[in-house]
Amino acid sequence: MKKNKILFVLFASIMTFMVLLTGCSSTSEDQGEGDKKQIKDKLVYAIWSSPTGVFNPLLNDTTYDDYVIDLTYSSLLKFNKNGELVCDLAEKYEVSDDNLSFTFHIKKDAKWHDGKPVTAQDIAFTFEAMADKDYAGAGYGNVERLKGAKDYHEGKAKSIEGIKVLDENTIKFEFEKVYSPGLLNIGFEGIIPKHVWGEVPIAKWKESNELLNNPVGSGPYKMLKFEPGQYVELERFDEYYGQTAKTKTFIFKVTNQDTAQAELINKTIDIADVTSLKAKDIELLENEGFKIKSYPNKLIQYMGFNLRDERFQDKQVRQAFMYAIDRKLMVEKLIEGNGVVVNTPMLPSSWAYPKSDILNHYDYNIQKAKELLKEAGWEDKDGNGIVENNKNEEFVVELKYPTGNKTREQIAPIVQASLKEIGIKVELSSLEFSTLMDQVVGNHEFELYLMGNNLDLDPDPKPYWHSSAASDEKGVYAWNISGLKNQESDSFMEQGLSTLDMNERKQVYEKFAKLMNEELPWVYLFCQNTRIAYNPNLENFNPTTHLDLFDAENWTIYE
């Protein structure tokens, strides 16, 4: 192996010289054979950084590993193109009258990539593993509300009471209390094969490199080759229980955003996320015949207040900030109109986002901002352009923001200039992402910060806003970053989780949205659209929010 590598190095070196010294005559690409309207057997999807090779839905924690998992594993349920919940691995499912249990019947023809049948045992195994005390992934939160999961997790029980295998193809899950995201948590979890992962003690999973790199799933594609740093190549799984994939090979190719445009036009990639490109570059792609799909992102950009800071405990101050920042202009100029202003911490694309007339829009209004500040006791008494309070303390505040996201880096100086207008001095400090996380989320040492909030499909805001998700203790990471503690909103969140009725939930979340629109623990900025450029001959390509690879087995490129 080593020897070969060295030989190869030598050989490649010599060849490169020859090419460089003699001027290269490029060999023409292999011509695709066949007539028109033939389906191309290769589809290349651009990604911006390498998958890490943790291809197990219970252990992965990076976006691009997720992409690979999406196509190689399957779950009990999925969405159809109207956004309705439909069966995937499950043949059918029933919800009990008391809304506490879900029974799934599994398709009899479902097979693993190695040809073995998928059974209820595999499903039970998957969810039990997530509650195991040796399990080192992040999935426990999805199962802890199952009956008996806590006891099993703490080693008090031999099995989970709430998971019952009724026969080879039937399994029943029972929850402690009615829990609305429960069905999604169970239904959308990728199922792993017991006969593969059961061989390895759970504590050793994250070191089982061979198994992680070579996933055995039940999805429409199976792993062919993974080259770290370069690409992942997947191949159609012929015995897939659903619609077998139309394109034989599906490739995720690592490339970078600066050269993606050239790669698209050179036909070395077929699909690429071009959200970061400017309008004129997108136009260039369109002129070359590329099509663009645009759909709302699942991330909202925002600026958070530290509610532990006395100055920000006054609602009027927070509202003044909101009025002083021209968010409409931000959307127009910064992201070239490619998004919408957000007025409450929810995704505008979500079914739970309230009708816009319910919320205050906080349209840009310097006068109003100044008045609110004045009412809160901040006024520029000495005429130096910075407001003071009655103790003569000037309003100087530090805004921490992470590097790495260009749009976010550009928001910071805009905020600084906007707030200067109402007499607030903002000092900017840019930090590397991990450092910022540590200071802001871990140690709660900040005044203002910029970040993006990635939201799930289920609108449950509890993980981000419940007072139990807040912490004032240094070193304790907490996702209610601003430190909002509000009994009213807590009770809305509890209510929203304790019913399966969508309309009831919608009403509750409307109240929650209104409250948050009033309270403003954050200055909500905007939600950008994802824009995907793709080969004009690609058909059945309908990605949407949360489902970037929706229906990938049907994507086809005609020659």
Binding site: V9, Q230, T268
Partner: protein
């Protein structure tokens, strides 16, 4: 000489331990932790702390270091947190890609730069000298990022001769000669960029060190003996200029393995530079330490090599 070597290698080990302590402390003192970039609010604090406990995050620094060094002495660099694979495997899968790229550009730039440097020194203020000077100033000052994108625009986008990025054509399994040709085609642009940047520097150094010796007495003596100009320059001049050229070349050796972050990023070359950068961003401690230790060893050995080569180039230098 042998005694000298043994002594050198012993100090090298001491220095390595020193480096490892300093680097380990610096790396671990950075704020943030390997999981701080994982934004999943559904993870309870307890699970989060358990995950950190697993990797020994809460141990005091000295304890962490002792654990790490114990493993190193057994030849085990540990597991990468991010890739969930042995560090040595992760590094091994990338370092050779870096090595191919860097060694080709290195040899190429030496072959061009040293002759060009000698000629421009002997023909000072000629047209050729001006051209070399201009080229090397461009090379020293042009950002590799910009230059790389320019290359891509010309050769991949306008002329469509070379591929834009990557190391192989995806989805095509070329084997044997075809496979090598494929890799070579992908190598051309990054090699041009890397060579150009190296070339500029080596050219300047060669020129100035030749200029330094060219006015020495022994050169005049050689000329007076009636030796041809070529022999004077190449044998008497170049040999004496070698010392500083060796220094600069040995400083370059570690870069063969350390990778070039920007060039690798533009051309999506799966090398060690990018790996290291991502490891730092993700606070993948074992991986960062693994890469840095391997690089330290290479750097220390290059210095040793330089000292040995001095003795070869200049017999007056003795290590007794």
């Amino acid at each position: 000489m042998l005694k000298y070597l043994v002594k050198r290698i012993l100090t090298l080990i001491v220095v390595l331990i020193g480096i490892s302590i300093i680097v380990f402390t610096l790396v671990h003192m950075q704020p943030g932790n390997p999981y701080s970039t994982m934004i999943d609010p559904n993870i309870s604090q307890e699970v989060y702390e358990n995950m950190l406990k697993e990797i020994g995050y809460y141990d005091s620094l000295p304890i962490q270091y002792i654990k790490w060094i114990k493993r190193i002495l057994h030849g085990d660099l540990g597991y990468s947190i991010h890739y969930k694979a042995p560090v040595i495997d992760v590094i091994n899968s990338r370092i050779w890609n870096t090595f191919i790229l860097a060694s080709v550009s290195m040899i190429l730039s030496i072959c061009i730069a040293i002759p060009a440097g000698i000629i421009s020194a002997t023909k000072k203020y000629s047209i050729f000298d001006y051209i070399v000077t201009i080229i090397s100033f461009i090379g020293i000052s042009i950002p590799s990022f910009f230059f790389g994108l320019l290359m891509i625009k010309w050769f991949s986008f306008d002329l469509k001769i070379f591929p834009v990025s990557g190391m192989t054509t995806v989805g095509k399994y070329y084997t044997g000669i075809k496979g090598i040709v494929d890799v070579v085609k992908h190598m051309v642009l990054p090699v041009i960029v890397l060579s150009f940047l190296n070339l500029a520097m080596i050219m300047r150094y060669t020129r100035s060190s030749i200029l330094e010796v060219i006015n020495q007495d022994y050169i005049r003596t050689a000329r007076a003996k009636g030796l041809s100009e070529g022999v004077v320059i190449c044998v008497h001049g170049f040999r004496n200029a070698l010392i500083s050229i060796i220094t600069i070349l040995c400083i370059q050796i570690p870069s063969l393995f350390s990778g070039a972050l920007l060039t690798e990023t533009i051309f999506v070359w799966p090398g060690i530079g990018r790996l290291n950068y991502e490891a730092v961003l993700n606070r993948d401690y074992p991986l960062i330490m693994g890469i840095l230790m391997i690089l330290s060893i290479i750097i220390l050995f290059s210095n040793l090599l330089a000292d040995i080569l001095y003795a070869v180039a200049d017999p007056r230098i003795r290590y007794d």
